[in-house]
Amino acid sequence: MKKLGFLLQKEFRQILRDRIILVMIFAMPTIQLIILPLAANFEVKDIKVVVVDHDHSTLTQRMLSKLGASGYFRITGAVSSYQEALHYVERNDADVVLEIPANFERNLVREGRQQVSLSIDAINGARASIGGAYLNSIIADFSQGMDLDFVRAAHPVAARMPVINVMYNTWYNPREQYKYYMVPGIFVLLLTLIGGFMAALNIVKEKEIGTIEQINVTPIRKWEFISGKLIPFWLMGLIIFTIGLLVAYVVYGIASVGPLWLLYLFAAVYLVALLGFGLLISTFSANQVQAMFLAFFFMMIFMLMSGLFTATESMPGWARTISALTPVTHFVKVIRMVMLKGSGFADVQLEFWYEVAFALVLNAWAVFNYKKTS
């Protein structure tokens, strides 16, 4: 125990002497929290529409002004042929071509139905499908409103057909802002970087400069050496987590709905799991480049599979299995549940035991792999 004290003293001296690390402790949570929610915004805005209007009626004018008023669309041009409109798309001046056939208004009033054509630039798939859906719903909305004015006179029966109204209620994130979704996720990112990389690189650095051999020839016990490495980074992770919570509150006004102790409990266990992972990486790597590559490889997969940026529910079954096998996934889920919904321990109990299991397995494996005598 006394030896552990000397180890910790040494590690803290080294960490506190490293200016870059000190700056990063404060800069990393602040900058990531301010910048990333903006970058990871999946909201689709400012969809550029080029209109090919062969009808030029008051009805089409009204429809177009409704499109513009929705806030999602910007009409960047009105041209007379589809070919011309495609040039807009090629030049990236339009995402959608909306083509309105000739006699649109007359046919609509006479037959009660009429088609418009939408051609969507699908290079950015998400933007295309979300934008297309918006446009669809606006036009559908418009045509429904139109029923009252035009169609009722011509087709009384159709106008009396019951219309099912769907009412939406958005819970937990009432304004549907992506920052509420992303900010808790960024805490995960922060802790994962600290846990997965810093301890691993620190240990491998000792291998590289040869000091680990000097340690291995002392009577230090394995657990003492490993605790001496993990405890400082564990504390650092919790400090960064705290700074992150403060930044989220000050900058975005986001405070956790659920209990703070639960967040800290998860953060603490999660860090142990990730530090164990980093330690494991360090036992497999001979130098910092190898450790960096290995850690990065797994971190990329962990992050992208974790549901941090995309919903795990929409992944195929096998991918969901992989996703469930990373500690990141469960932590992402829990931190959102606790922060945004106010879930209590009972709601996230299963995830808690998952994290504990990850922590135990990864650390046990790492300790087993670390050898003082080869």
Binding site: F6, L7, I209, E213, V217, P219, K372, T373
Partner: protein, 247 residues
């Protein structure tokens, strides 16, 4: 009869079908300065790592300070000091902090560490540098400091792996004065070196060629046996028969 602190019997370390150390047998007496010579790749460092409890032997037996190299590595480690080829103090810690750390991991109390480190810094004449980062010291001082740290916990045996590599002749001389002092205080010194003048300073030397011990005796006796004027010639006569290419 004098006490034997290292006893090796047919000690072997094999990597695949490569015999890094091939059935070496020798004994080291307490308080002796024991030189371990050999060309690069002759197996010196491997043998030393086994004796320090850093590596398991493949076969044969060995005890260090009375403890078995297969099973009692922790006890061995408590009783030895080690200075590796690579400088292994922490460059981003000060001299005092390095001493404190290594003293601490060998289980010395803070009071003892404080007292001894004060003495040590005075002996080395490093009073002004005590609070400086080790990385900023010249190589010669680093090596002297590393040696002092290796014997700071007063081990029975200290292992030195090419301790004077890259050091100027004056500092080398001072370094050997420190080795003599340590030996006089009862610490057994086990040292590998490439410098044949240093071999002359040892009480006894072994010369390893291709993983085997080809000669073991006092420098004077070896020179007589090989009818050589100095250790350099003795070494040359033995080492030129080596089949392994040096690295």
């Amino acid at each position: 009869m004098a006490e034997q602190v290292i006893v090796c019997n047919e000690l072997t370390k094999r990597f695949g079908d490569f015999y890094a150390v091939n059935k070496i047998t020798f004994e080291v007496t307490k308080g002796e300065i024991f030189g371990f010579l050999g060309a690069n790749g002759a197996g010196k460092t491997t043998a030393m790592r086994i004796l320090c409890g850093l590596s398991y032997p493949t076969s044969g037996t060995a005890t260090v300070a009375g403890f078995d190299v297969y099973r009692q590595q922790d006890q061995i480690k408590r009783n030895i000091g080690y200075m590796s080829q690579k400088f292994s103090l922490y460059e981003n810690l000060t001299i005092v902090e390095n001493i404190e750390f290594y003293g601490g991991v060998y289980g010395l109390s803070r009071a003892v560490i404080k007292e001894r480190s004060g003495e040590l810094i005075q002996t080395l004449g490093l009073e002004k540098e005590a609070k400086k980062l080790v990385g900023s010291l010249p190589l010669g001082w680093k090596q002297k400091l590393a040696f002092s740290v290796a014997i700071f916990h007063r081990p029975q045996i200290v292992f030195l792996d090419e301790p004077t590599g890259g050091v100027d002749p004056v500092t080398r001389r001072q370094f050997w004065d420190m080795i003599y002092e340590a030996a006089a205080s009862g610490i057994t010194v086990f040292v590998t070196t490439h410098y044949m003048d240093e071999a002359e300073y040892c009480n006894r030397v072994t010369i390893m060629v291709d993983g085997k011990i080809e000669a073991l005796d006092a420098p004077q006796a070896l020179k007589q046996r090989f009818q050589a004027a100095n250790m350099e010639e003795v070494f040359y006569q033995l080492a030129r028969s080596a089949k392994r290419s040096s690295d």
